[in-house]
Amino acid sequence: MKVKILQWHAVASWTWDAQDETCGICRMAFDGCCPDCKFPGDDCPLIWGVCNHAYHLHCILKWVNSQTSTPLCPMCRREWQFKG
């Protein structure tokens, strides 16, 4: 007997390749999305700072825009810079 695979329809889940599980700003799961978004994944991406802390892009943008002086990373209080 030989078995020929005609179709293998598999199931996978996606996850962000990050150390933390939740966003330090909104406290939502990275694999979820920020409070402003409806859909996770491409629609609500993560962004890393040079300090290697990750946040929802929308969350850190809101944070950066709300700061009057030079924005700091909410976790390590170092100056916030987007990782290239």
């Binding site: 020929k4 695979i5 329809h9 598999a10 199931v11 996606w14 390749d17 409806k38 859909f39």
Partner: protein, 860 residues
């Protein structure tokens, strides 16, 4: 008293006796009168008037009893003395009892007529005596005027005291036969009427009455002579004092005929309205009869020219015409009485069959419409509720009925009853036992969700359009209602006028057409379904689990119908409730795009390596659904070692995903998904669609045709019992055979290389068969709501056991409230009553608890 006087008195008395006997026995000779006058006058002067009167009446009675009455009853004697069985023989005789009844009545009325004349002779004699008397003396004298009433009283009392018990039966049979005769004569004109006039639900306005009443054409003579004959019999019966007995007899005959007419028209066909026919018939037959009869008897005075004398009492007529209004009113009372009886009969008939009628709904809506009108007239809605609830308990709410059937009947019930009862009050009462019963069933939520969202007709009694789920239908109804709204407004005046004319409308609040229509729309089928489940969240949750199961078992990405269903659910339950489901569907849309991107790029790169062409499996066969697992219900994860070739495809795919979507990566759920395989044997092949674990199992048999379960379980990385469960799919399909293995708990499985011998014969044909896993054989990808709940509820089990140890037995409500009161620390108790009930029924099934009289107690 002087002796001479006494002699004179005796003389006169003797003369009086002789003369009166002569008169009474006389063959129509009333000439005795003048001779009687002086004798009676003499006796009256002597103060013997009372004696005269009594003697005379007594003689009349004697004569009447001995001649007329005896003879009269003799006519009926054969019937009255016959046995019950023999009586039927009389009834079927063509002219029985009309012939003997007419004859007997004729004779007795002749006799009575003669006697009345005799009485009149004496009355005249007495009167002329009274006239000669001084005024004040009259008092002592027997009033001549009382003689006739006394005589008439005597006649009826003699007859009534000698009446055979079965005489009223004879009258009843007589009227029944005559009415049937009349009915068949009238049938022709009544039926042709039906064809012309198709206006249903028309109340007796004046013109309507007339159309039936104007007797014309050939039936006239026939039916008027028939009525005349009946009228004569009735008059004669009245004449001998049987007025009320006669009326009872023809009333019950009319009612009997009406009842059988209703039964005949109604039958077991629920697809036609019969109420209008019944009403038409009432006007065409019994009312015609009564009108003619009352007219003949002089109870109703003809008015105007011709036979159109009957006017509706509702029509305005000058009330200054006494003697016209009164008899018409009698007929109107009859009309009301007959209609009420017809409504009630039809109503009872339909209520008795309501269960069947609802099974047939909506085809049976004419019957429902009839029932509605009947109930509006009689106001006996409670009859419907009681009767229907008991038939529900007896026929539907039983262990034998499937949850699906119960739900479908419930939905039909809602649809049917909201026509009858726009306010939903009775629906509430009728629905309660169904809802209670359904709450006790484990698969209720699942069935409701399936019914709402699945159009593929998983239900047994698949009515309605194929591919149409209940949600679609509800939505379409709502749209139709919107459109109907517009028409409603145009008709409002007409409706109002109509409602105003319905003077018997029971409840003025319901009579408001605006309110009625609004309420009708308010009977919310979806809301009622949700109320069975307890909350919309539970419904949504169950839907999510079912949707997840469905999506994870797809072999393509086609979700158009699911998107449509989701949109409908959003309308009803709000967008935010459906957010997670929306993300799940969105995952499928994204997966489709990503999948094709990855496959294109993988295929391109594999082409660049010419040596790889011969790869065992091409990247082309792999598709993947990539989910945002945070938004999906908990997934059943099981380790599985897939064949190396497949594993290679999976890791290539994941690598490419990471490249395209970085910094996102893929985590495979290797036990999930579907696999299409072709098993190739000598000269024939068979296709299967299976779960990955089944594929992993069967593919191992390529390298080795025989495996022990232990070795195979280790090889594909699943527990032995799990392997044994799965491998039975292949043995059941005849692909593998099972035999004793090296150990008692180890079995050996071997490929049956050419499938069965039967199949061998068809080798030439190279037949292709295809197998799809059935639901039972399939794997569950998602933890069911029940399993999730069980997990969450297990913490409370010890509290429940503790409570029941203390209290012995407790009701569901009490357990619920106690948990709410005491379980306030983590994990605080936040479950609904339905969830608790479902958990407790699980404990009952596990034989930890038992129920008695609706109370829960520990199983000893």
């Amino acid at each position: 008293m002087e002796r001479e006087d006494a002699d004179g008195a005796l003389d006169s008395w003797a003369q009086f006796c002789t003369l009166s006997n002569e008169l009474l026995a006389g063959d129509g000779d009333l000439a005795v009168g003048p001779r009687l006058a002086p004798v009676v006058g003499d006796l009256c002067t002597r103060g013997l008037a009372t004696l005269v009167r009594d003697y005379f009446l007594h003689s009349l009675e004697e004569t009447f009893r001995n001649h007329a009455v005896k003879k009269f009853w003799q006519h009926f004697h054969p019937y009255c003395s016959a046995s019950t069985v023999d009586r039927i023989k009389f009834c079927v005789k063509e002219h029985w009892p009309e012939e003997i009844l007419s004859k007997a009545l004729e004779d007795i009325c002749l006799e009575r007529g003669y006697q009345e004349k005799c009485v009149l002779v004496l009355v005249q004699v007495l009167q002329s005596y009274e006239d000669r008397m001084p005024r004040k003396k009259i008092k002592e004298v027997v009033c001549s005027s009382s003689l006739m009433p006394r005589y008439q009283l005597m006649v009826s009392s003699v007859l009534l005291t000698t009446l055979p018990l079965s005489f009223p039966d004879i009258l009843n049979i007589y009227f029944k036969k005559k009415l049937e005769e009349l009915n068949s004569i009238m049938a022709g004109s009544y039926e042709s009427d039906q064809l012309v006039d198709h206006e249903p639900f028309q109340r007796s306005n004046t013109s309507d009455w007339h159309s039936g009443m104007d007797i014309d054409g050939s039936e006239v003579s026939e039916n008027s002579s028939l009525v005349k004959n009946i009228g004569k019999v009735v008059r004669d019966l009245r004449c001998i004092g049987f007025t009320s007995m006669t009326e009872d007899a023809y009333s019950s005959a009319i009612i009997w005929l009406l009842k059988s007419k209703v039964y005949e028209l109604a039958g077991d066909d629920y697809r036609v309205s019969v109420l209008w026919c019944v009403k038409k018939w009432i006007q065409a037959v019994p009312l015609q009869f009564l009108h003619a009869l009352l007219t003949y008897l002089g109870d109703s005075v003809d008015h105007g020219s011709g036979s159109s004398g009957l006017k509706s009492p509702l029509a305005s007529r000058p009330s200054s015409f006494p003697g016209i209004g009164v008899p018409s009113e009698a007929l109107v009372r009859w009309h009301m009485r007959l209609e009420y009886f017809a409504y009630e009969t039809l109503q009872d008939l339909r209520i008795g069959k309501l269960f069947e009628i609802i099974v047939d709904y909506p085809e049976s809506s004419p019957a429902i419409e009839d029932l509605k009108l009947c109930l509006e007239y009689t106001g006996q809605h409670s009859k419907l509720v009681d009767s229907f609830i008991s038939s529900l308990r007896y026929r539907l709410l039983t262990a034998g009925a499937s949850t699906n059937d119960i739900l479908h009947q419930y939905v039909s019930t809602i649809k049917a009853l909201r026509t009858i009862d726009p306010t939903g009050v009775f629906l509430e009462a009728v629905g309660e036992p169904i809802r209670d019963y359904l709450r006790g069933r484990k698969d209720t939520i699942k069935c409701i969700v399936t019914m709402l969202t699945d159009g593929s007709g998983g239900s047994g009694s698949g009515t309605g359009n194929a591919g149409d789920n209940l949600l679609e239908e509800l939505n379409r109804d709502a749209e139709n209602q919107e459109n109907a709204d517009y028409d409603d407004h145009a008709n409002i005046d007409e409706k109002q006028a109509w409602l105003n004319s319905e003077s018997w409308e029971p409840d003025p609040v319901e009579a408001d057409p605006l309110k009625g229509n609004r309420n009708r729309r308010k009977v919310d089928i979806l809301g009622l379904m949700v109320s069975i489940i307890g909350s919309k969240d539970q419904l949504v949750n169950e839907y999510r689990v079912m949707l997840a199961e469905k999506l994870l078992n797809k072999s393509d990405f086609e979700i158009d119908s699911d998107i449509r269903t989701l949109e409908l659910l959003k309308i009803h339950f709000g967008e935010s409730s459906m957010q997670k489901c929306e993300i799940m569907l969105n995952d499928l849309i994204d997966s489709k795009r990503t999948n094709s991107n990855i496959k294109t790029s993988l295929l391109k790169s594999s082409q660049t390596v010419p040596g790889q062409e011969e790869a065992e499996v091409s990247h082309d066969v792999l598709d993947a659904t990539i989910i945002s697992s945070n938004f999906w219900p908990p997934i059943q994860i099981e380790d599985l070692v897939v064949p190396a070739s497949v594993d290679q495809l999976l890791s290539d795919y994941a690598k490419r995903f990471h490249q395209i979507k970085t910094p996102r990566k893929l985590l495979w759920k290797k036990n999930l998904g579907t696999v299409k395989l072709e098993l190739q044997f000598d000269g024939r092949s068979v296709q299967f669609t299976v779960a990955p674990v089944h594929a992993a199992i069967i593919m191992r048999f390529q390298e080795k045709s025989s495996w022990t379960s232990k070795a195979l379980a280790t090889e594909i990385g699943i527990p032995m019992d799990s392997l044994n469960r799965r491998i039975s799919f292949w043995t059941s399909k005849g692909v593998l055979t099972e035999s004793a293995g090296p150990d008692a708990d180890d079995r050996t499985f071997t490929v049956v290389d050419s499938m069965s011998d039967v199949n061998k014969d068809s080798i030439v044909n190279e037949r292709m068969a295809e197998y799809q896993m059935t639901e039972e054989e399939g794997e569950s990808s998602v933890a069911s709501v029940e399993e999730q709940l069980k997990k969450e509820m297990t913490v409370y089990e010890k509290y429940i056991v503790g409570m029941l140890t203390n209290f012995g037995s407790m009701s569901l409500d009490r357990i619920h409230n106690t948990l709410k009161m005491f379980c306030i620390a983590e994990p605080s108790y936040d479950k609904s009553l339905q969830q608790l009930q479902s958990f407790l029924s699980g404990l009952v099934a596990d034989e930890k608890l038992e129920t008695r009289d609706g109370l829960y107690l520990l199983k000893r």
